[in-house]
Symmetry: C2
Subunit: 340 residues, 2 copies
């Protein structure tokens, strides 16, 4: 199609196909060209202006409205794009379909749709196999579009591996475990940043995930109110009674600790964890990652994802979502805000 | 009790009461004084050290662990406090109970507890009647404490009231309404910032809440795909099919618009709305408030509140939570992060 020569090409809508000369146009292309006055469109000899066409197209293919908004937005930013794979394939600036490789694969979503984890993982797999970058284009209720890049994330830290020769005892209070053994607790706190020292270093408060990890690694025995030692299963049960999500959260915690990272609560950032690749020092005091567990029930409401990503961006951290499946394999997905 | 004279006062635990000399101590006070070595504590002639006492106290009163952490934290910051009303009453620095008025009323919460809206409203009422400031002390899983101030919020803007003499028509597409009447849409957009102009100002996209408001105010008629005019009820039904929460969100939107504020989507901040007190200008372009609807189902998970408040703080906006009850009365509560 050479639009510079044919200023107003005539196109025809047959069922849901649009034919212009010898080319076939997608409905998004049709809308775009109509808006720019580059084509005239007919259906059964009736001319469809943009208003009529938008109503018609919305009834012909699901999600047309969203797709059209995103198509237009990407074209207006100077990119060429083609329908296909997920919703669109986008070519690097200056490259056209046929003249080079596409760079991004775009999925179009409404802010109102929940983001399904299985769908997310499929999309990652597809784009990974194609060696493309995956973007989600989220259309908000006012038709504004935010682009998020979705990436598999490898988490790896450089902490020494946990080696505690002693096995100390801790008391389970209501929501915490207290250790009263100063040399042990100082080592735990200093080399791996477990717990929180209080009372001028005379005792260490451990969170539930920290305690479970130390129990599982045979470095800690936790006593309940009656003085009985709790097995890992019993401890997890007790913790789960207080925090229903505890076990899944623990799977993520354990995985990150096993990857030699420092894992602390992310409460102040509204995430499950904040994570450091090494022990914080004066030069590198800030955590690099915020980790939030995605569960199937809570699925991912896009406004919540938006809030998390925006917050992480504001505090210069990477927002990573973690998922643990039945087999306890943990996967990490970084979601970041990008300007197209 | 004069601890400077009696360096190690003897105290006795009877059931859940602690008696030291002629005074009665709360369990939090007892823990605090024990930790500082200012008292020795006995129960049935057996001495209770801090470790034994903490276990004992946790079994005696619910929430002792959390209350003790907060008590200690506030004392360590140089304030006096007393048990009572919600959890504690805190006196201004330099003032002691008996020597002046308390300033804050503190409620102690674990990050794991959901924040119940009815409870929140009761707390606001209590502290309002007492003319005190209400703080929630949230204890995270590691025992760190964040203080939030909870305040009723009056929302009021200075927009001209909506007066559109014409009644234009809009097309309902899938998730938006499109208006094609340039003079009307320009006025709507310019004076009240409804919708989003696209296609070089030739059409206006309205969100569902905006459309519902204009329908209710008789400034707009929305046509469905078959060309039928939708009543307000029909429109709300159609919107609710796409967004289950729509009606409650609309109640908040309507209330804020009726209060002469500009209300736009807060999607990029992960909140329902961002709100301006007047039409943004070059000097005052940023929205002042983020508004998030709290519903009973979604109740308020504290980590989500934390995320919202932190985000709002980072972008210099006020985080306001809105609640609409059966009678459609909308109330606003500002939650902000405070340093005690």
């Amino acid at each position: 199609l050479n639009f510079s020569k044919n200023k107003e090409l005539r196109a025809e809508l047959f069922e849901s196909r649009v034919i212009a000369g010898e080319s076939r146009l997608t409905l998004e292309e049709t809308g775009y060209l109509l808006e720019r006055g580059r084509i005239t469109l007919f259906e059964d000899e009736e001319e469809l202006d943009l208003q009529k066409f938008l109503k018609r197209a919305s009834s012909l293919i699901p999600n047309f409205e969203l797709r059209f908004l995103v198509y237009k937005n990407i074209r207006d930013r100077g990119y060429h794009l083609k329908t296909g794979i997920l919703d669109f394939r986008v070519y690097p600036r200056g490259t056209k379909p046929g003249g080079g490789e596409s760079k991004y694969i775009i999925r179009v979503l409404s802010e109102r749709e929940p983001m399904e984890i299985t769908g997310l993982e499929k999309d990652i797999l597809i784009t990974k196999n194609l060696k493309k970058r995956l973007l989600y284009a989220i259309v908000d209720e006012e038709g504004d579009i935010t682009y998020y890049e979705i990436k598999e994330k490898k988490m790896r830290g450089s902490l020494p591996s946990l080696s505690m020769d002693t096995n100390v005892k801790g008391d389970l209070l209501e929501e915490r475990v207290i250790i009263w053994d100063p040399p042990f607790l100082n080592r735990l706190n200093e080399f791996w940043w477990f717990g929180r020292l209080t009372d001028e270093g005379r005792r260490l408060q451990l969170s539930f995930v920290e305690s479970a990890y130390l129990i599982e690694r045979r470095s800690l025995e936790v006593l309940d109110a009656r003085g009985n030692i709790l097995s890992l299963e019993e401890f997890i049960e007790a913790a789960s009674a207080i925090e229903s999500n505890f076990y899944r959260k623990y799977l993520i915690y354990r995985d990150l600790r096993d990857r030699r990272m420092v894992v602390k609560t992310g409460f102040k950032f509204g995430s499950h964890f904040r994570v450091y690749g090494e022990m914080p020092s004066e030069n590198a005091f800030h955590s690099r990652y915020l980790i939030h567990l995605l569960t199937d029930e809570h699925a991912a409401r896009l406004p919540e994802i938006s809030r998390a990503v925006r917050l992480a961006h504001g505090v210069k951290k990477e927002m990573v979502f973690a998922m643990a499946d039945e087999s306890k394999v943990v996967r990490y997905v970084e979601i970041s805000w990008v300007r197209l």
